[in-house]
């Protein structure tokens, strides 16, 4: 035998240790949460100890001593394919504070996604993807290299190591996200990703332009997903010189009746306001936007109307050429048809500049007094100052109600027609269709 007794003993011990790690990895898929949690914590303890006392001898100074394979076991356990592990993942978040752990976890996740997806042949895995998302979305990337001070393993030659470089961190982060987004996502997850993308993903990437494909695809999907993709696209266009052909045409086609009703209304109109703030836009384009927005406003609830009317007024102020929409002194006296073509996809073909804003005129008869007043503003020539719509974007129906209820009235006018019962009015609609049984 080449080995001494002590060596043999050590080899045996090493084997037992490997068995133990394997068992713990399996236990992370146990039914009871306590068991899962305990095995997670134990494994992380192992990671910490192994990093301090490496099993393999360091060959030369400057070598990494982090037990990546062990961490990979943990990450695999955290991302089960068939169940929701968000609880366990939230328990794991405390370890993600350590810069080195985060670095290796990101690497492990990238590897894990590759393995799992290859195995399942691009079949959508809602649980798995949800798990991955809940693991990687809260990742808190450092902003400066000097912020990276919290390490699980203290090593003297830390500065020279790759993992203490911000650039390396970003590289890994970017690779992880790209790997994750490469695969098809379920709709709900798609939206969630798009909501956080501009805020917590794009700024930490080395090359944000790599997200272009993903965003372009999302923008093309339509509906709420397109609205959400707009934000990421805006950052790319604005800060990274992305050239997006037919961007405004696409934006124009995004306008449909649901934009006044969806949850992301405020975000969408905030961005639309930004996109339309350029004074270099052609008048026909802005006119088409104005006409389409006001056409759609015919189905909008009052809280949206209170926002969109000042919005349109602002567009008029920025683009005085569009004022023909509200003021056309020498036009034909009577028209039998609105020249504007709603169904036309191309703003330049929509003939918006030949039309007038009859929609807003109709809204002057809106039942809500504030809407009627706001719409009546377009009858007069506009003031120079732009209205501030930032406060109106988030307006909700309940706020409107609350505001009206709290108004103090000096006197309360009363109905003078004598009541003759619940449905006793003259020409009561209820009496025609309802009975009191």
């Amino acid at each position: 035998d080449r080995y001494s007794a002590e060596d043999k003993y050590k080899i045996w011990m090493r084997h037992r240790y490997q068995d133990c790690v394997g068992c713990l990895g399996e236990l992370m898929g146990h039914d009871a949460f306590q068991v899962k949690e305990l095995s997670l914590c134990t494994l992380m303890k192992f990671v910490e100890l192994e990093a301090q006392y490496p099993l393999i001898k360091i060959e030369w100074k400057g070598t990494l001593t982090f037990p990546f394979d062990l961490l990979k076991v943990v990450v695999d356990g955290l991302l089960p394919v068939n169940e929701d592990a968000s609880l366990l993942i939230s328990r794991f978040q405390e370890y993600m504070e350590y810069d080195d752990v985060r670095y290796f976890v990101m690497k492990a996740v990238t590897a894990n996604i590759g393995q799992v997806m290859q195995k399942t042949k691009e079949r959508p895995l809602p649980f798995y993807q949800q798990n991955v998302f809940s693991l990687i979305s809260p990742i808190n990337m450092p902003n400066k290299e000097s912020d990276m001070v919290k390490f699980m393993v203290k090593q003297e030659n830390r500065e020279e190591l790759k993992m203490s470089k911000l650039q390396a961190h970003r590289q890994v982060f970017q690779k992880m996200w790209l790997t994750f987004l490469k695969h098809k996502l379920p709709t709900g997850l798609y939206k969630k990703v798009l909501v956080i993308l501009h805020d917590s993903v794009l700024p930490y990437m080395n090359e944000p332009t790599l997200m272009m494909d993903f965003l372009t695809v999302a923008y093309g999907i339509g509906g709420a997903i397109s609205l959400l993709a707009l934000n990421g696209l805006f950052i790319l266009i604005h800060q990274h010189n992305l050239e997006y052909p037919d961007f405004y045409k696409k934006l124009y086609s995004l306008l449909d009746p649901s934009i006044y009703h969806v949850k992301y209304r405020a975000r969408f109109f905030h961005l639309t306001d930004l996109f339309l703030s350029s004074s270099h836009l052609p008048a026909y384009l802005v006119a088409a936007f104005i006409k389409r927005l006001s056409r759609l406003a015919l189905t909008a609830p009052p809280e949206s109307l209170l926002m969109i009317i000042p919005f349109i007024c602002n567009l008029f102020r920025r683009h005085p050429a569009c004022r023909v929409l509200v003021h056309r002194p020498g036009g034909p006296a009577d028209m039998s048809e609105d020249p504007y073509i709603m169904e036309e996809e191309e703003p330049s073909e929509s003939r918006a500049l030949e039309s007038s804003l009859w929609e807003i005129q109709s809204l002057q008869n809106h039942y809500h007094p504030d809407v009627a007043k706001a719409a009546a503003v377009l009858n007069q020539s506009l003031s120079e100052m732009e209205d501030d719509i930032s406060g109106l974007l988030e307006l909700s129906g309940y706020e409107l109600f609350d505001k009206e209820v709290k108004k103090k009235a000096t006197d309360v006018p009363l109905e003078f027609e004598q009541v003759r019962g619940l449905f006793g009015k003259k020409n009561d609609i209820f009496a025609e269709h309802f009975s009191l049984d």
Binding site: L357, V405, V412, F416, H433, F434
Partner: protein, 838 residues
């Protein structure tokens, strides 16, 4: 003072009521004052300018303000004495000598001196007791008495008693006597007081009882009032017949009513347009003599001067009554007065008086009478009330026999409910009416608040009736009438309580949406409340404190609430009807209404692909509830008859059969068609009517399979479609209102109204203060400069006079010297001449 020394500051204008400080100046006086002051201060300083010595005041505590002057003097005196202590002055001869009188130190006698208060005892005024004389007039009396007493008493005992002791004894005696007198007086005082009190107690009993004989006489004198007299008096007091206004004919009444309605309608229209109300209000009538000072003499609320019991009558009548009662407790005189006046006054007055005195009267008869009166009165009022009730509701005689006539307003909702519990609708109505009548605000002060509460109770009660498993809608139908009446009486309270209910409902919905992300449509009670709102308040106003929140709430209901069941559809259609009713006069545009109707039509269609229209929240183009109103059953389609949707169905739909469900679905659809037709008629005048109705028209023309509908439904459908399609398309380009030309800027003076003369017209208070400070500083600076200049002048003057004085003194001295030298020379020359002669 000397008129030549007075300088008068003449003023340009005399202004009444202004006080001027400096209209008369005394330049001579003020100058001399200033000079005097300078000589005291400046000159002194000037004179001492090169002196190093300092005058020190070492008097004790001279500059210590903590010590009072008296104390200071005492301490100084003590210090002085201390300094002089022990220094015998040889020239002071009678320092330790004591003055005596009758061998007794005068100082001691003075100390013991007791001034007897001879004024205090009235009985013995003028007389002098032996002790007193002895004490005051020295030993004479004492010696005499000593002689008298010494005859009887032992010499041995008598002797050691010194004169001092004697006097002390005497003093003690006199003191004791004095004390006894005092206690006696106090006790008599107490007794009289007690007697007074006792008297007061009995006095009331005696007050009304004149001596028996007199009383009898009076009764004889005052026989029962003759019938004739009574009639005469009654006639005297009876109202003279006045020519009243002519009875109006029915036509006139109708005309008046019409005019009133027209006025109300005009009012409503004005509110509907929402134009500035202030501007349109007619200016109230202004008299030619109006001073435009805002003073209006509409009612003279000064009280007429009146006297009562010799005092000016100030209090209100109610307080007067109380006062009367209090007064009677007070003095007898007043009571007597009243008695007399009562006797004189007429018999009618007596009743009143008796009424007000009832709780004090000892007279049994009058009390009885009083009680009788009261009872009678009660009867009368009851009769009156019952008469009015009879007059008003002759029908309700049957129910009347059981119900009490008067009701208190219930304090709580529970009490209110128990009052109405178990009664029929008619009885409930009567009860409510009687509560209102018995507690009319004009009858008592607190009634208004009570009835306002009643409105809230009634509203709550209606809500409860609507939430029952079998909603008692018929009852609600009737209860709306008293609700309307109460609302007319108390608009503010009514609007507040309706608003409160709406706010609660909206708040609940918002909470549910926040927690779950979606909400269900509210129960029947809320729908009924919304309907009642439209009955109580005008829904056509541009802004209304109740109706506008109701609008927003309904809009929320139609956009936020999920439509998952047939009940939801019915509720939604009910709200649509409400919307239509709300805007039926004002013709305001409600986008939610069209959206909802489109959605309802959408869910009545089978699964569809290419649409050409878009439904918005809460409806979805595809999904589990997208065929909620679809009816495929041929038989059900055939057997359907248009029926009114029973409202109660909202709470109990589950028991109904499939066929019935299908029928209800079809009825909903028919209702929807009708509503579309009504909307089309309503919004015809809107410039973008066709754009608004575009999706509905596409749905109706391209997606609805009309042929599958029963004939009745086809009728509904066609009438709706016809209403949509017959409207002409008519567009006129928009033109902005012309801007008002901005007037050119001109150099006309800016005219500022002067509100107060003599004060700077500054913009804000702060600015005013700043200006004042600046001005004051300027003035002070000027004054200081002037003072300094005057000081310098004074000093220069002083220096000049000093120099002049010095010069003149020198001149004088030189002159003197020269003079003396001249005389010397003269003498010498004379001597020389003499010598020469000799």
């Amino acid at each position: 003072s000397n008129p030549f020394e007075v300088k008068v500051n003449r003023q340009k204008f005399d202004i009444l009521g202004r006080k001027t400080k400096n209209d008369v100046g005394l330049p001579g006086v003020s100058r001399s004052k200033a000079i005097k002051k300078r000589t005291h201060t400046l000159l002194k300083e000037y004179k001492e300018r090169e002196k190093a010595n300092v005058f020190k005041d070492k008097r004790f505590g001279e500059y210590n303000t903590n010590i009072t002057p008296e104390e200071k003097m005492i301490r100084r005196f003590a210090l002085e004495r201390q300094q002089n202590y022990g220094k015998k002055n040889i020239y002071n001869l009678n320092e330790d000598e004591e003055l005596t009188h009758y061998g007794q130190s005068l100082a001691e006698i003075e100390k013991l001196n007791d001034i007897v208060d001879s004024d205090s005892d009235t009985e013995e005024r003028g007389t002098l007791s032996a002790e007193l004389t002895a004490a005051h007039f020295g030993g004479g009396g004492g010696l005499l008495r000593k002689k008298v007493s010494s005859g009887q008493e032992d010499e041995e005992e008598e002797k050691p008693k010194s004169r001092k002791e004697l006097i002390e004894e005497m003093i003690a005696k006199s003191k004791q006597e004095k004390q006894e007198r005092q206690t006696r007086r106090e006790s008599t005082l107490e007794l009289t007081e007690k007697l007074d009190n006792d008297w007061k107690e009995i006095q009331t009993l005696l007050a009304r009882k004149p001596p028996k004989s007199e009383r009898k006489d009076k009764e004889v004198e005052k026989p029962k009032p003759d019938e004739y007299d009574m009639i005469v008096r009654e006639l005297g007091f009876e109202m003279k017949a006045k020519p009243s206004e002519r009875m109006k004919t029915e036509e006139e009444l109708a005309k008046e009513e019409q005019a009133r309605l027209q006025k109300l309608e005009a009012d409503r229209l004005r509110r509907m347009r929402g134009t500035n109300e202030q501007a349109e209000k007619k200016p109230s009538h202004v008299s030619a003599d109006d001073l435009a000072d805002g003073f209006i003499l509409d009612k003279d609320d000064r009280r007429l001067l009146s006297y009562k019991d010799g005092k000016i009558n100030i209090e209100n009548e109610e307080e007067e009554k109380e006062d009367e009662e209090e007064d009677e407790e007070g003095g007898e005189e007043e009571d007597e007065n009243e008695e007399e006046s009562e006797d004189e006054s007429a018999s009618e007055d007596e009743d009143d008086a008796a009424d007000s005195h009832s709780d004090l009267d000892s007279d049994l008869e009058s009390e009885e009478e009083d009680a009788g009166n009261k009872e009678e009165k009660k009867h009368k009022t009851n009769e009156n009330e019952s008469q009015t009730v009879e007059e008003l509701d002759p029908k309700r005689e049957a129910a009347k026999s059981e119900l009490p006539y008067t009701f208190a307003v219930p304090e709580s909702y529970e009490a209110f409910k128990s009052l109405l519990a178990g009664r029929t609708i008619e009885q409930q109505l009567i009860i409510l009416e009687r509560i209102q009548k018995c507690n009319h605000p004009s009858l008592a002060v607190g009634n208004k608040a009570k009835l306002e509460k009643l409105f809230g109770f009634l509203l709550e009660y209606i809500g409860e009736l609507a939430t029952l498993d079998l909603p008692e809608l018929r009852t609600i139908d009737k209860l709306v009438l008293p609700l309307y009446n109460l609302c007319q009486m108390f608009p503010e309270a009514a609007s507040d309580s309706v608003k409160f209910i709406l706010r609660d409902a909206a708040h609940d919905m918002e909470e549910v949406i926040e927690v779950k992300g979606r909400a269900a449509l509210p129960g029947l009670d809320t729908l009924i409340y919304l309907k009642i709102t439209s009955l109580l308040f005008p829904t056509s106003d541009f802004w209304h404190p109740v109706v506008t929140p109701a609008f927003i709430y309904m809009s929320q209901l139609l956009t936020k609430c999920r439509i998952t069941t047939l009940q939801d559809v019915i509720k939604g259609l009910f709200i649509c009807c409400l919307f239509l009713e709300y805007v039926s006069l004002s013709r305001r545009f409600v986008p939610e209404l069209i959206n909802f109707l489109l959605g309802v039509l959408h869910i009545s269609l089978p699964k569809k692909q290419a649409q050409g229209y878009t439904v918005v929240h809460p409806f979805t183009p595809v999904g589990k509830n997208s065929e909620l109103l679809l009816v495929c059953d041929k038989e059900d389609l055939e057997s359907w008859q248009k029926q009114n949707l029973p409202l109660g169905i909202v709470t109990r739909l589950k028991e109904t059969s499939r066929t019935e469900m299908n029928h209800i679905r079809l009825s909903c659809l028919a209702l929807c068609f009708d509503l579309i037709k009504k909307c089309a008629a309503l919004y015809e005048s809107l410039p973008s009517f066709h754009e608004i109705m575009h999706p509905v028209r596409i749905l109706l023309t391209q997606h609805v399979q009309v042929n599958e509908y029963p004939e009745k439904m086809q009728e509904w459908y066609h009438s709706a479609l016809k209403e949509l399609e017959t409207k002409v398309k008519h567009y006129t380009p928009l033109i902005c209102e012309k801007k008002k030309p901005v007037p050119l800027k001109q150099y006309t003076p800016k005219i500022v109204k002067v509100l107060e003369f003599g004060r700077k017209q500054a913009s804000s208070k702060k600015e005013q203060e700043r200006k004042q400070l600046i001005q004051r500083h300027k003035r002070e600076l000027k004054g200081a400069i002037r003072e300094i200049r005057k000081d310098n002048q004074f000093l220069a003057r002083m220096q000049l006079s000093e120099i002049m004085e010095r010069d003149s003194a020198r001149k004088r001295k030189v002159k003197e010297l020269l003079g003396s030298l001249a005389t010397q020379e003269g003498e010498w020359k004379a001597m020389k001449r003499k010598k020469w002669k000799n």
